[in-house]
Symmetry: C2
Subunit: 217 residues, 2 copies
Amino acid sequence: MNDMPTTRTERTRIRRHPERGTDAPAAIHAILDASFLCHVGFVLDGQPFVIPTIHARDGDRLYVHGASVGRMLQGGRDGLELCVTVTLMDGYVLGRSPFFHSVNYRSVVVFGRAALVTEPARKREALRLITNAVVRDRWEELREPTEQEFKATGVLEVPITEASAKIRVGGPGDNDEDASRPVWAGVVPVRLVPGEPELDPRSPPDLPPFDVSRLRV
Amino acid sequence: MNDMPTTRTERTRIRRHPERGTDAPAAIHAILDASFLCHVGFVLDGQPFVIPTIHARDGDRLYVHGASVGRMLQGGRDGLELCVTVTLMDGYVLGRSPFFHSVNYRSVVVFGRAALVTEPARKREALRLITNAVVRDRWEELREPTEQEFKATGVLEVPITEASAKIRVGGPGDNDEDASRPVWAGVVPVRLVPGEPELDPRSPPDLPPFDVSRLRV
């Protein structure tokens, strides 16, 4: 794990509940690695856009991918400023007043200028990391992308240098005088759970079953 | 369900896989109602910010909330342009080449100018909807917010008029000639599953257990 310190800036300063925040690279990297879904924000013609996509981390670099014809990749060619946000929902927090309802979560925000990954070997490596971020060791059992497939997907790189993490854990924070109220309060943990794999009916017979523990959830 | 048509604009035009898109209000509303977690994008000083928060829908209006002292609410006072994105992950799609890996999902993007909800009765109703969007009928069993709690949370309203939904369902889209390859391909469904509720130890004795079917997951 890379431990180059991140840079604290006005953008990464956590205004609300600063005690939940950290800019420790180990914490930021762990959250980025625990999820593959991110939401990428960028500005085109002064308008904000937020699109969901899949990311992967390589040391202190974050890769996000998208359709080469899409808004993000078209803008990315010009060094687009991105805000990449990852949110993992860990639990529902139920207090005795609406204000003390919350969620337990882990989140990371990365700010930075996107660079289009053009060098073929690096782009292939980024796509390999993105593929394997979702299904462990998946790239190695697939055929290589065709030239056309390779061109259809674009990869942007953002340095993980201006970033912060925010983590909430624990029960509701309401006052002790409220705690005696006769209403259920506490935490309900939640997690993403894979269901039964559904084999593509076009598959050849006698394939070994898919091991869902390979999925990042 | 409100069926006022949405407005198709350049911002809501779906460039990639337009066949997955719809601007039918019924489809947009159903996805907004199926999730409480959204990612809100906005621009401050030319920089994109994306923050996770909780939303609720009231007819063709979307409410998002945040700390009154936070960036979004401070900016929201000035009619900030927002992009609110909701993403529900439904499954992993595994093809035989990296390019044909995908996820099944339902997503909505809403573009619009935020209006700060200031009128107390409307703000209370928005907070009630937001609270109950997470836990069904929760507001009604809680004490009312104090004046201080009420002020500490801000609510922004965005019209759901410039919006689009995108939905992917089904198996991998790879070519029939690839389908004979001896690698597992298909779909693994996934969903958020609540765990065992953990009662706040400060609670009075003999509370009825919490019914997790009240949670929106």
